[in-house]
Symmetry: C2
Subunit: 107 residues, 2 copies
DNA sequence: ACATCATTTTGTTATTATGCCAAATATCAC
DNA sequence: GTGATATTTGGCATAATAACAAAATGATGT
């Protein structure tokens, strides 16, 4: 399995449903922390497991939510499965949101 | 009730929990569409209601989710309640996400 | 083939989210 | 104040999500 960077069919405008799915994937504290960790580089499931006080099966499910949303991909090497961000620039999204929420106005 | 634009205490770094809450608010198709509509300008509940085939009470609840996340604010004028984006730049977030998801790589 | 290790999947249960209806609230016009 | 209009809230049913434990999978080493 070789890693490639490429424009894909997904480069069409995302449907509102797809957007909602990505936001939903990011709507859980544990999954947000996984994404933030992966921003520093790939990690295997066992690495991630040390970060949280949760069952490995629970972690595995969170990873599958992120994978289904297209936020991460996995690669099996030896005994381990390594996860990484499909797009490290997803972190820009966090900054973008922080800035937006920072400048909001009130009624 | 006068509308103001200002930096607030919320300008500190958002906690991961707060971020998750904002993402959760955006994780429903109806709520995303509400936000997209409000990007074009304020709207009262009855305006929004015409866009969807849902009960008004359901719409009202969606609006309260968006309000609690800090994404919209409301202002009562006459018989109507008008909603608007606390920060129109929240739309940048959508573009940002679309771009990010567009350039992703695969394992 | 067998045992081991890392991870995923399945089954189950608890919690949360969604949606409708009906009741409550608030404003406006008379 | 009464009635009409616009919106929110409470109550309830159903669906979706989250968590754990246990079983299943798949690669590795013997």
């Amino acid at each position: 399995m070789k890693r490639v960077t490429r424009k894909t069919a997904a480069c069409r405008k995302m449907t509102v449903k797809e957007k909602a799915q990505v936001f939903k994937a990011l709507s859980h504290v544990t999954r947000l922390q996984i994404v933030q960790r992966l921003a520093k580089g790939e990690a295997c499931v066992c690495d991630l497991l040390e970060m949280f006080d949760i069952d490995m099966s629970t972690l595995s499910r969170h990873l599958s939510v992120l994978r289904n949303a297209g936020l991460v991909f996995d690669e099996k090497r030896g005994k381990n499965v390594f996860y990484d961000l499909t797009c490290p620039c997803i972190l820009d999204l966090f900054d973008c949101m922080e800035e937006a929420m920072c400048q909001r106005r009130y009624g």
